[in-house]
């Protein structure tokens, strides 16, 4: 019983991270119709920034998070301006360019942190909250969960309550029609990848004290993001959030009882099944050509 409760709590916290980077991937795909394979590496760079600034050079945790967000956002903006914009007519070209970025960012991380063992960041928030005498939640995880929820709520407000958010969703629905209405596609693309990059940077920064940091950590991130995106329904942000939480719970439970590799295998099979049975995902809408 304790194990089950503990797993639920851990799964929810994990779901917060999953949602942060999956939502970014969905935004970028929705607005620019390019699969950003380097999204996992954006998260990785966020984590490395924390390691470099907070763990190595003693900058406080919260300002370091701010720097991580800014750094990753700038990388995202550069990618849009110099790679995705020139290749907009050809989605495959954008995908291949993002793979090039993936290689470059991995090397950048290796140059910054060296080849050695994975890096650890000591948690800046100490202590553990004990609920019902048995359930233990470190404050670090509570902080991450709260920040994730705040960030996602802000995004929801931005997309549904502001004019810019409407414009962004209009471009995601139909780029040409939006352009005809006078919406600047280039500007909206910059905003989409900026927001996606910021969320990836935030996810990396929040994960840094809770995980092993190495140049290849982006691999698992992108696999998770794909699973969550597909299960949630491509292009659906609420679907991605729901799928992130459900998949995180699922993954945590299978990991606890059967092991991590099997959990990922199940996730991938689940994704293929969703693609076959309901390609629009749990929250997706059927789009006709």
């Amino acid at each position: 019983m304790e194990l089950i409760l503990q797993s639920i709590v851990n799964g929810l916290i994990q779901g917060g991270f999953f949602a942060l980077f999956a939502v970014g991937l969905v935004l970028i795909f929705g607005v620019m119709s390019v699969v950003n394979f380097a999204h996992g590496e954006l998260v990785m760079i966020g984590a490395y920034t924390i390691w470099l600034l907070h763990a190595q050079n003693g900058l406080a945790f919260i300002p370091a998070i701010g720097v991580a967000i800014i750094v990753v956002t700038i990388i995202g903006l550069l990618m849009e301006r110099f790679l995705f914009r020139p290749t907009r007519d050809d989605p495959l070209a954008g995908l291949i360019c993002s793979i090039g970025v993936l290689f470059i960012l991995q090397v950048v991380a290796t140059l910054i942190g060296g080849d050695g063992p994975s890096k650890q960041v000591p948690p800046p928030f100490h202590g553990t909250m004990v609920v019902f005498d048995s359930l233990r939640i470190p404050y670090q995880r509570i902080f991450s969960l709260v920040v994730s929820i705040v960030a996602l709520s802000t995004l929801w407000y931005f997309l549904t309550r502001t004019k810019l958010g409407w414009a962004l969703r209009a471009v995601a629905l139909d780029r040409e029609a939006a352009a005809l209405q006078g919406i600047n596609i280039n500007r909206i693309s910059m905003i989409a990848i900026g927001v996606g990059g910021a969320l990836a940077g935030l996810a990396g920064a929040l994960m840094a004290p809770l995980t092993n940091i190495n140049p290849h950590m982006g691999h698992n991130v992108i696999i998770t993001a794909f699973i969550v995106t597909i299960v949630g329904g491509v292009g659906s942000l609420s679907g991605a959030v729901i799928a992130a939480v459900l998949y995180a719970l699922f993954h945590t439970f299978v990991t606890v009882y059967f092991g991590g590799t099997l959990a990922t295998i199940c996730g991938l099979i689940l994704m293929v099944v969703v693609l076959i049975v309901k390609p629009t995902g749990i929250m997706g809408v059927r789009v006709s050509e």
Binding site: A93, I96, V107, V108, F226, I230, T261, L275, P279
Partner: protein, 324 residues
């Protein structure tokens, strides 16, 4: 001199070069030459999958399926290479045929992601089930054959063996592409509705291309494991898949020889920047981006571009039926 004679002389020169090359190389480079020969088959077989316009991300894993099949057959049933090669191809093709049912319900982006997921799942199965796949450490102890007293463990004999097998497979792939099937695959890519309207079952042809490509890459996997002697799941991860994509795209995928040029040029390039060690992937990434931005039709389009600049010949950039 007529073109037929030119072709024959060209082929003879090429053949003589290929036969002579290993004798001028150091041992390390002989090794590399064998892997390059095998990789030529990998990209050529990938091309047949992409002919229908679907870019799969499972090709590297299908190579692994061939490799694991050869390994398990060799270790458990003591089968020689002449049996493991075709059987490796056969098992890859069989698994590909089964995967067709889920995968080809999708197209484009969904197919890309779906094939990636299926491949990753297969690869994780190799990691999860230590018996019989050996887990992360993989399997070892596969040996090359000894035929007529020649030990193919040595690099040069094995190179000739690989060259023969790969050459034979390339010949078949080339014939397939220029046969009725190959033309239909082009039609499925560029004019799918039209092809359907004249009675072509596009699903069947997409699946057929995928199965044929998997068959030949399975053979490539077996060739590799027989030389290397060991096999691990990480040899066939997304990293290697990305390299296949890079070779095909940098070489150019509009013609049969484009991907082959890509793998040869980039392997030589990769070897020449060996001294940069840890920043090599970044150089690779930069080359990839630059070639996508400035040479979207790949290296093979360079001669045609030169001709166009100087006004010689017709601009034959476009692939057959490419007027989408």
């Amino acid at each position: 001199m007529n073109s037929r004679l030119k072709k024959i002389i060209g082929s003879l020169v090429l053949l003589a070069t290929l036969v002579a090359i290993p004798h001028f190389l150091k041992f390390h480079h002989q090794d590399l030459l064998i892997f390059l020969t095998i990789n030529v088959l990998v990209v050529a077989s990938y091309r047949i999958v992409t002919l229908t316009g679907e870019w799969s991300l499972i090709h590297a894993v299908m190579m692994g399926v061939g490799g694991y099949t050869a390994t398990l057959l060799f270790k458990n049933f003591d089968l020689g290479m002449w049996f493991t090669l075709p059987l490796a191809g056969g098992v890859s093709a069989l698994i590909a045929a089964l995967l067709c049912f889920p995968l080809f319900r999708m197209t484009q982006f969904y197919f890309l992601i779906g094939s990636f997921a299926a491949g990753e799942a297969i690869r994780l199965v190799w990691i999860q089930y230590v018996n019989p796949f050996g887990g992360t450490g993989g399997l070892s102890g596969v040996e090359p054959p000894i035929i007529g007293g020649i030990d193919f463990l040595d690099a040069i004999p094995y190179y000739y063996l690989a060259l023969t097998v790969v050459g034979f497979c390339l010949f078949i792939l080339y014939r397939i592409e220029n046969s009725r099937i190959g033309l239909t695959l082009h039609a499925v890519h560029w004019k799918a509705p039209l092809a359907e309207s004249v009675g072509v079952d596009t699903w069947r042809y997409r699946a057929l291309a995928f199965v044929i490509g998997s068959f030949f890459v399975g053979i490539a996997g077996a060739l590799k494991v027989h030389y290397l002697g060991t096999i691990t799941p990480n040899q066939f991860g997304i990293g290697f898949m990305v390299f296949i994509l890079i070779w095909v795209i940098v070489g150019g995928y509009n013609r049969f020889y484009g991907p082959i040029i890509g793998v040869v040029v980039l392997t030589v390039f990769d070897e020449s920047i060996r001294s940069f060690a840890e920043i090599r992937p970044a150089i690779y990434g930069a080359v990839l981006i630059i070639s996508i931005l400035f040479l979207p039709k790949g290296l093979e389009s360079i001669p045609a571009k030169f001709k166009a600049w100087f006004g010689i010949g017709s601009n034959s950039d476009a692939p057959p039926l490419a007027d989408k």
